[in-house]
């Protein structure tokens, strides 16, 4: 090769390597690993499960409240299709099971082009694309985990998810609509991962719904396969959907009265989320003097006995 061509080639190689080096300056955080959910907030609701009639702090509208009041937990047993229903991507990030995060790197640039999450409950797998691809059109199928894309914002991963199937904001009957979208922010502080989710669901909610939860890196954890098999466990006649007609649910006030809460607070709605609600909420119907049930539930040592 002639000297002049060698010089040109060297120069081009230098410039190319400099450009690739610039790309690596972007603030990419490694979220990969096995993550254990931390239940220091809402522990009883997230693990054993929420109580019937607990809509507190969720900005539900009136029709969503009516639908939640009609819910019977027998539906999970009676309706076979619900037996293996996954928690959708927004609800699953409440940490109802352990989490594994993996990532794919572009072989040339070594930058992340996608993250994959696996949650150890009913094989909930999700792909989060960082390659700039657009979301599919409105007629594309909706899935339990939806379609997620993301971009880096400083040291935060900002994720947007669309195309979700109808699911629930809380698994005591509060539905989430099939046209909702939600955003997430993943931020890592050492071995702690905080995930903030904000759901926009104008069909079911009057305001955006924010929740946040944290995970601890746990290298000794292994998310196992947890496939679900449909099985007939019900004594209900085929086609039966257990439900309560309006005004007939006998458990509506049980949650509020058990814990000494104002009943209006337990009924939910956007007003219950803000500090001013404390100043106008009514006195509770009952005021338990001392805890007698689930007093140390989910404190990492004790289970939640009856």
């Amino acid at each position: 090769m002639r000297t002049s061509c060698r010089a040109a080639a060297f120069g081009l190689l230098f410039c190319a390597s400099a450009l690739i080096g610039q790309g690596a300056n972007a603030q990419e955080i490694d979220f990969t690993g096995e993550w254990r959910p931390i239940y220091h907030e809402d522990g009883p609701e997230r693990r054993p499960g929420p109580e019937l009639g607990d809509y507190a702090g969720i900005p539900i509208n009136d029709s969503t409240r009516l639908r939640a009041d009609s819910y019977s937990p027998e539906r999970i047993i009676a309706v076979t299709e619900n037996g293996c229903r996954q928690h959708s991507a927004d609800y699953s990030m409440r940490g109802l099971a352990n989490l594994r995060i993996m990532r794919e790197l572009d072989p040339v640039t070594q930058q992340a082009v996608s993250f994959h999450t696996r949650i150890g409950f009913h094989t909930m797998d999700r792909t989060i694309y960082l390659d700039g691809r657009p979301h599919p059109g409105p007629q594309a199928p909706h899935t339990w985990q939806g379609f997620s894309t993301a971009e880096w914002k400083g040291n935060q991963l900002a994720i947007t998810t669309t195309h979700l199937k109808e699911n629930y904001h809380r698994r005591n009957g509060i539905p989430s609509g099939p046209n909702r979208t939600f955003t997430e922010r993943w931020v890592r502080h050492g071995d702690v991962l905080t995930v903030v989710t904000i759901v926009d669901d104008p069909e079911m909610l009057t305001e955006r719904f924010v929740r946040s939860q944290s995970w601890m890196l746990d290298p000794g954890q292994h998310v196992v396969a947890n496939p679900c098999e449909y099985g007939g466990e019900s004594t209900y006649a085929v086609g039966t959907v257990p439900a309560y007609l309006p005004g007939t649910n006998p458990f509506i006030n049980e949650f509020a009265d058990r814990w000494g809460l104002p009943r209006s607070g337990a009924r939910g709605g956007a007003a219950t989320m803000y500090p001013e609600f404390r100043l106008k909420m009514e006195k509770p119907a009952t005021t338990p003097e001392k805890c007698t049930l689930y007093c140390k539930c989910m404190n990492d040592v004790d289970a939640c006995p009856d």
Binding site: Q22, H40, D42, R185, R211, P275, C291, N299
Partner: protein
């Protein structure tokens, strides 16, 4: 038979080589110039990656029955209290607290960000971020270290070096409900570590943290669906009463003005 090599004389490869060499050398010169130039020293206020100032409201969409009301005595669900912490928590006596003028124990640094409150955040000076709450009428000061020149940029790419964990040194002076908070910016996170605390409560019903507790916080801000949000991850380290660090995350939404600001003393909040 002799052969003689004939040099081609086309100027194009030479022009290309010179051009590429100039571009490459230019990059080297620029990089060297950046490394040699004195880094500008900016105060923490100037260097803030986002604007925290203004009014914020707590959004209580989690732990509702422990935050919006005073839970029953002994209700410690979700809290990683050890046996001593449970014992002390079961001794909670609100009348005794009131008689001792200790009505604000649930509004100390270990628990205040879980309270249904609003925040008013301002810069007291270039090194001190001031955070006030209306409910409980508390004031917290996040003190930054005096700025130093940033290290020169290295070659070869890569982000800023990782910062060591923030650990507050012991502080002389009286302990207080809000303690002493050291703060720093870490990319686009405000990190704080608070010590020199008086014993307080993780919840209104007397779930305790001790005077030895250290409270670590990570404040991040983001805008989604047109709203500006603040998420505060709080880590309470207290081996006296906790079997492990307690980790919670609280959400706040930016308010347009002070119209919702409602100062209330602790026993009314």
């Amino acid at each position: 038979m002799k052969f003689r090599m004939v040099k081609r004389t086309s100027p194009l490869p030479k022009v290309m080589a010179v051009g590429v060499a100039i571009l490459s050398l230019g990059g080297i010169v620029v990089t060297a110039a950046e490394a040699a130039a004195p880094a500008q020293v900016r105060s923490p206020r100037e260097a803030a990656p986002f604007d925290l100032t203004g009014y914020w409201t707590a959004v209580v969409s989690e732990d509702w029955r422990w935050r919006m009301v005073t839970p029953a005595k002994g209700d410690f669900a979700s809290l990683p209290l050890n046996d001593e912490g449970v014992k002390v928590g079961n001794e909670w006596d609100p009348a005794k607290d009131a008689a001792a003028g200790a009505q604000c124990k649930a509004f100390g640094a270990g628990g205040i960000m879980r309270m249904p409150t609003r925040l008013h955040i301002t810069w007291q000076d270039d090194l001190t971020l001031k955070v006030e709450t209306d409910h409980g009428q508390q004031t917290r000061l996040f003190r930054f270290a005096a700025p130093r020149p940033a290290p020169a940029a290295g070659g070869g790419g890569g982000g800023p070096p990782a910062l060591p964990p923030l650990n507050p040194a012991p502080v002389a002076g009286a302990a207080s409900l809000q303690g002493n908070t050291v703060a720093r910016w870490n990319v686009n996170t405000l990190e704080g570590a608070t010590n020199n605390l008086l014993a307080g409560y993780l919840r209104r019903n007397g779930a305790p943290y001790s005077e030895n507790a250290i409270v670590f916080e990570y404040w991040t801000q983001h805008t989604d669906f047109g709203d500006t949000w603040l998420t505060i991850t709080t880590v309470v380290r207290d081996p006296k009463y906790l079997r492990q660090e307690m980790i919670t995350s609280s959400s706040f939404k930016k308010l347009p003005d002070a119209s919702k600001w409602t100062p209330l003393p602790c026993d009314k909040a």
